[in-house]
């Protein structure tokens, strides 16, 4: 569904469009976080994003982002020959990538906490004064 959502951004409802934007905006952080504990190749990163954050997007678009993160020195990569018969490109975090993930994670946490506080009355269903 999110895939369809990202594709038809212009036709989607405003809230759906906003949600797609939000997911897109958090993608970089999600990628860095997915690599925190292990080396992964593109498809494994996608599976993790799907499983833990239902952050699904047009799958192919993750590769240009990975390549930029690598160029920025946040990731390192290596082609590894696999049993599958074709090599896979594994990525891992550099020290700078770890620093960046921590920094972004902190920003996200304080942002999310503040917004949640602001949203408490909205989502508690208490009737506000008109």
């Amino acid at each position: 569904m999110y895939m369809a959502l990202l594709r038809n951004g212009t036709k989607a409802e405003p809230t759906e469009k906003w949600e797609a934007q939000l997911r897109k905006g958090c993608l970089e952080l999600a990628i860095l976080a997915s690599l925190w504990e292990q080396r992964l190749y593109g498809l494994e990163i996608l599976r993790l994003l799907e499983k833990d954050s239902d952050m699904v997007l047009a799958e192919g678009t993750i590769y240009p982002i990975l390549s930029r993160l690598k160029e920025e020195g946040l990731l390192e990569s290596e082609w590894v020959e696999a049993e599958a018969g074709h090599p896979r490109k594994y990525y891992w975090l550099t020290a700078a990538g770890r620093q960046k993930a921590i920094g972004m994670g902190r920003i996200w946490n304080s942002f999310a906490a503040n917004l949640s506080a602001l949203l408490r009355p909205v989502l508690n269903g208490r009737g506000g004064k008109p």
Binding site: E59, T61, P64, I65, S67
Partner: protein, 197 residues
């Protein structure tokens, strides 16, 4: 697996992708295609006997060639403009951008004008020692002139030998200013596009 991995649908897909990114730097391009192919093969291997329909499903989840090409182009522009401040790289990026629309064209024009002014200061600074009477800052009723050949421009030359360091500094300021302006415009363009996307 091999039959499916080299199915006509998949080859058509990659041919289309190739045609859309053919103007981008080869090493990054080849790397991207290699990775995408590995992705497609991995996806197809999960299926017992991949058929044409499976190929279509895998490619659909991957995104259209256009979508991937656009993302790739955007990431390349981002990376180049934020990491390099060489005028050549910036002009080349802008030239690519012009393909992207009117806004890109405007950025390209700004870059051209800014760098040309900077260049004219550098060139006149170089010429000053050889043609001291023709080059300098000449102020007259017609306004300000930097150089004129073979007859010196009208008016009084006000800087003399100090023209050389002054022109180098002003030229450098123009180079820097144009570069910063372009980077600002490219970034703004990106956020604008993201909002429109």
């Amino acid at each position: 697996m091999n039959t499916a991995a080299s199915s006509p649908i998949i080859e058509t897909y990659f041919a289309e992708l190739d045609s859309r990114i053919s103007d981008l730097p080869r090493p990054q391009r080849e790397e991207l295609v290699k990775e995408l192919r590995a992705h497609v093969m991995d996806r197809l291997e999960q299926m017992a006997v991949p058929c044409e329909e499976d190929c279509r499903t895998v490619l659909k989840a991957l995104g259209t060639p256009d979508e991937i090409a656009r993302q790739f182009r955007m990431e390349l522009i981002l990376r180049r403009s934020s990491w390099r401040i060489s005028p050549v790289a910036i002009l080349r990026t802008c030239a690519r951008w012009t393909v992207a629309g009117v806004q890109g064209y405007a950025v390209f024009l700004v870059a051209m004008v800014g760098y040309l002014i900077a260049l004219s200061f550098y060139v006149t600074a170089l010429l000053k020692p050889f043609f001291p009477r023709n080059v300098g800052v000449f102020v007259s009723e017609q306004g300000m002139n930097l150089a004129h050949f073979p007859v010196p421009p009208p008016g009084h030359e006000c800087l003399g030998p100090y023209y050389i360091p002054a022109a180098i500094v002003v030229g450098y300021l123009f180079t820097l200013g144009t570069t910063l302006l372009i980077r600002f415009l490219v970034r703004r363009g990106r956020s604008l596009r993201q909002r429109l996307a």
